[in-house]
Amino acid sequence: MKEKAMIGKGNGRFIFGMTAPTMLILLIMTVYPVIFTIVYSFTDYNYLKGIHPFIALENYVKLFENVYFRQAVFNTVLFTVLAVVSEVFLGLLLALYVRSLKKRQKLLRVLILLPYLLPAVTVALIWRMMLSPNYGIANQLLQTIGLPVFNWFRDPNTAFGTILVIDIWQNTPFAFLLLYACLQGVPDSQYEAAAIDGAGYFQSFWHVTLPNITGGLALCAMLRTIDTFRLFEKVNILTGGGPANTTSTITQYMYTYGIKTLDFGFASACAIVMTVFVLILSAVYIKRAVQS
């Protein structure tokens, strides 16, 4: 008994010793900045002035009273929902298709992944060139078939949709990759059993595939939600949040009214609000993960 306790104590120390470096790094790299962001969000901290007087909830009040911020929140939530649903749906379709192939699976996997390998800035610049009203290939195609040149990023009716399409184009491969990996884990025996029972393709999908990849779908949706919520580079490069704030997102708002103006107290409040939104949206998955 005593010996067992000694071993347990020794193991505890060993476990602590092995996890200590990671815990320390997390404390320095994550916990410390988060705490300071929370603290700064209650101050009128201007980086250049170097002073940070405590102003309680003033930044938060200012934030929620601001009509541009409310529009940015609406845009971000709408964009996230549309992008995540589309990316997961298209990713699943692609994964099912590639998995069903008997040949050239590897080649297709690489080709499909290419957009995801590009940095967001590069993607934005490529699309800006392709959709340029002067030398863009898209508008040249329109002209060829007798349609007028279109200003994709400057028209309030199309700017949001155009950035959405670009984001879906770039990030669907991520959903594909994750769901394709999940599909590999579905036992063939279940499909064989379903086939013996006379299940067709859609019945197999509904009763075999889907239940087996539910966890993967949830994980994919959560990761894409967190990532899409931070959408910045594409908006900043392609539209700057315009026209008429139709593409403004929370991060773009934070950059324009907090970072650019060096009002880090206000920017911190904005960052905290954004984190809370992401946590709410990811809560279901996190709850499941914690429980399991």
Partner: protein, 425 residues
């Protein structure tokens, strides 16, 4: 693994991590010492000193970069240049300003940041360091560089708004460039171009700063301005509304584009007119486009105003520059008349009479006489600390008006309210 070994491994891992973390920081003392050594005459004798410049990317920074090799050779220095976008340059200089010893020896500064930077001690006082302007520098371009009699910046690139036009499109509209004297003429040309199937007026419709910058020459020609003598916002005035209504008509003849597209469109003839900057485009006798001073009159017989808005790129030395003495030498070198004259071949626009009125230069670059006139009589954007916020708010409301989300009256009233709140903070 027995307990002793486990403890040893854990201890070794923790020690390694602590050592690496310690190595990452805590070198301020060494840096300060190195900086102090370098500042007082370079590194140890014979050693190459490394300097770092933070410049506006694109043609503005490229011009300065082109003149560096000679200085590097003469002074045994190696210069690293960081090319930044407008916003990143502002943030980059500001973020470095709070360090005891900074990273940058020389920085490019937009005139509109001057108030913010000098109020917060970001820039070194060049007068105290022994720098002064010579009489060759266009006096108006130095106004933004000083606080009282103290010099903080030197005007390096004479950027001032001009009206870009496509020669063939203007002629096809039945006008000669010199005939475009009023905003009415400008609108007539744009409308004629639109009727013929090309864009009349191309403009930037993205960020607040760009929207405001493109509009200010129009506002000036209508006799309006964004602030009064006490720097209080005046965007809900009759002059501003007239200018905005006019601008709505003008942009109705064309399209919003990115900066690169605006220049390309005017050059390739798919757009006719635009408000731009000399740094965007270097015309020649054979080029399809050229530029002129933006019209100063609203209509024939109306009062004429200066409509050239300064966007001069100035250079300064951060107050915490690691090699201030060398930086001053570099600043004096790139501001030297001969070096500035040579920079024209690389697309430079010096703020010097001797360069812009040089007959040989004008024979090759005739457009520089227009730039010289514009630099002589330009108008500065308000030198207020809140200018970045100011343009964010005004640009956003103007964007709402331009997109049809708000009427002119609604948008300007909202902008006025928000700007008054901003200036009261």
């Amino acid at each position: 693994m027995n307990m002793k070994k486990k403890r040893l491994v854990a201890a070794a891992l923790s020690a390694a991590m602590l050592a690496s973390l310690t190595a990452c920081g805590g070198s301020t003392g060494e840096t300060s010492q190195a900086a102090a050594d370098a500042s007082s005459g370079g590194a140890a004798e014979g050693e190459t000193t490394k300097m770092t410049l933070i410049l506006r990317g694109g043609s503005y920074g490229d011009v300065l970069k082109a003149s560096l090799p000679e200085f590097e050779a003469e002074h045994n220095v190696e210069i690293e240049v960081l090319d930044m976008s407008f916003d990143d340059l502002h943030t980059g200089i500001a973020l470095d300003a709070v360090n005891e010893v900074g990273t940058y020896d020389l920085c490019m500064v937009d005139g509109s940041w001057m108030a913010e930077f000098t109020t917060n001690g970001v820039l070194a006082n060049l007068s105290d360091m022994g720098y002064s302007f010579d009489e060759d520098i266009i006096p108006n371009t130095t106004e933004i560089c000083k606080v009282g009699e103290d010099i903080y910046l030197a005007p390096y690139f004479g950027n001032v708004t001009v009206m870009l036009y496509n020669k063939a499109n203007v002629e096809a509209a039945g006008y000669q460039p010199e005939d475009i004297q009023t905003l009415d003429d400008m609108l007539a040309v744009a409308q004629a171009a639109k009727a013929s199937g090309v864009n009349g007026f191309a403009y930037r419709g993205d960020t607040g700063d760009n929207i405001v910058s493109d509009f200010l020459p129009i506002l000036l020609a209508c006799g309006g301005w964004v602030v009064d003598d006490n720097n209080q916002p005046t965007v809900n005035t009759q002059e501003f509304k007239d200018a905005m209504n006019y601008y709505m008509e003008l942009i109705g003849t064309g399209a919003a584009m990115s900066k690169d597209d605006v220049t390309a469109a005017v050059d390739n003839g798919s757009a006719t007119l635009a408000i731009g900057w000399p740094g965007w485009y270097v015309p020649s006798a054979d080029s399809a486009a050229d530029y002129m001073v933006s019209p100063g009159m609203r209509s024939e017989g109306a009062e004429s105003f200066n409509t050239s808005e300064y966007g001069t790129w100035t250079i300064g030395i951060p107050a915490n520059a690691p090699h201030p003495d060398l930086a001053l030498e570099l600043l004096q070198y790139v501001m030297d008349p001969e070096v500035q004259l040579a920079s024209i071949a690389n697309g430079g626009v010096p703020c010097r009479y001797s360069c812009l009125q040089n007959e040989e230069i004008l024979a090759e670059y005739p457009h520089l006489s227009i730039v010289c006139d514009a630099l002589d009589q330009g108008v500065y954007r308000p030198a207020i600390e809140e200018w970045t916020d100011f343009t964010n708010i005004l640009g956003t409301e103007m964007g709402n008006i331009m997109a049809g989300v708000k009427t002119v009256d609604e948008g300007l009233a909202d902008a006025q309210t928000q700007l008054e709140e901003l200036m009261q903070q």
